[in-house]
């Protein structure tokens, strides 16, 4: 999503991993860990000011 934001023209794109995010069910959690699934906080700005 970081790259999509830059491709769209956004500037100052920043991404921070959200600590503590996890799926509640163990089966989903295990699959998510295997694929490196993370929650992130993304910020960006539309240029022009």
């Amino acid at each position: 999503m970081f790259a999509l934001l830059e491709d769209a023209g956004f500037k100052r794109v920043r991404s921070t991993i959200i600590p503590g995010f996890a799926f509640r069910k163990e089966s989903t959690r295990d699959a998510a860990e295997a694929y490196g699934v993370k929650a992130v906080l993304l910020t960006a700005q539309r240029p022009g000011k």
Binding site: M1, F2, A31, Y35, V37, A39, L41, P47
Partner: protein, 208 residues
């Protein structure tokens, strides 16, 4: 990090309707039965886990807190100012919109957009319960946001864009609705590895 759905997911048109139906069903379940158990943490426990201020959670209508289903806290970086126009993409039961409405004050305005009619009805009721006149909830899809060009100062969103097959298009919509210098503060889910086709094609996993 890549998106949860690989780029080729945007070409899987026939599956999109099935996924959308499962997403609607899952979040309708959260709206109607917030006491239920889901793949994700939700409600006050989740909001506290993501650092929502206790006084916000105490002040917000209980139903908005109970049906909270975000994956983080966009308010940590949204830097909302009085008078700003805010779009809450995928507004759910309204907690993030209500918190945003408090921050922008009566001179500002918050538009929540959600495709789930049960969630929109709940969000509207919660905003009324909170006594807010500067927030509205609209029917709409993130791929076709019902907002004019450059009408928004800040977009917030919480755990929603990962549910779309057409993320590039959604991001383009965010760019379109923001005015010059407009900002986004989005929490969402990404993966370090491309997901397998079996996962991408499973509506229940998309909705989880």
């Amino acid at each position: 990090m890549t998106d949860v759905a690989p780029p080729h997911a945007e070409e899987q048109g026939p599956l999109e309707g099935v996924i959308k139906g499962e997403v609607l069903r899952m979040y309708q379940e959260v709206a109607e039965h917030p006491e239920g158990e889901f793949h994700f943490y939700h409600g006050r426990r989740a909001a506290e886990m993501f650092g929502y201020a206790t006084d916000w959670l105490d002040r917000a209508p209980g139903g908005a807190v109970a049906s909270f289903a975000g994956v983080g806290n966009p308010h940590l970086r949204s830097r909302l100012q009085p008078g700003e126009m805010v779009l809450d993409l995928g507004s759910g039961a309204g907690l993030d919109s209500i918190i945003a409405a408090w921050q922008v004050g009566p001179a500002g305005r918050v538009s929540g957009v959600d495709l789930n009619p049960e969630m929109r009805a709940k969000a509207q009721a919660h905003a009324r319960e909170a006594g807010l006149a500067n927030v509205e909830f609209r029917d709409g899809r993130m791929e076709d946001i019902p907002v004019p060009d450059q009408a928004i100062d800040v977009v917030i969103s919480n755990g929603v864009i990962n549910l779309s097959f057409r993320k590039r298009h959604v991001i383009g919509e965010l760019f379109r609705v923001l005015g010059a210098g407009g900002r986004i503060a989005i929490t969402d889910i990404v993966s370090a590895k491309p997901l397998s086709q079996s996962i991408v094609s499973d509506p229940k996993l998309w909705a989880s």
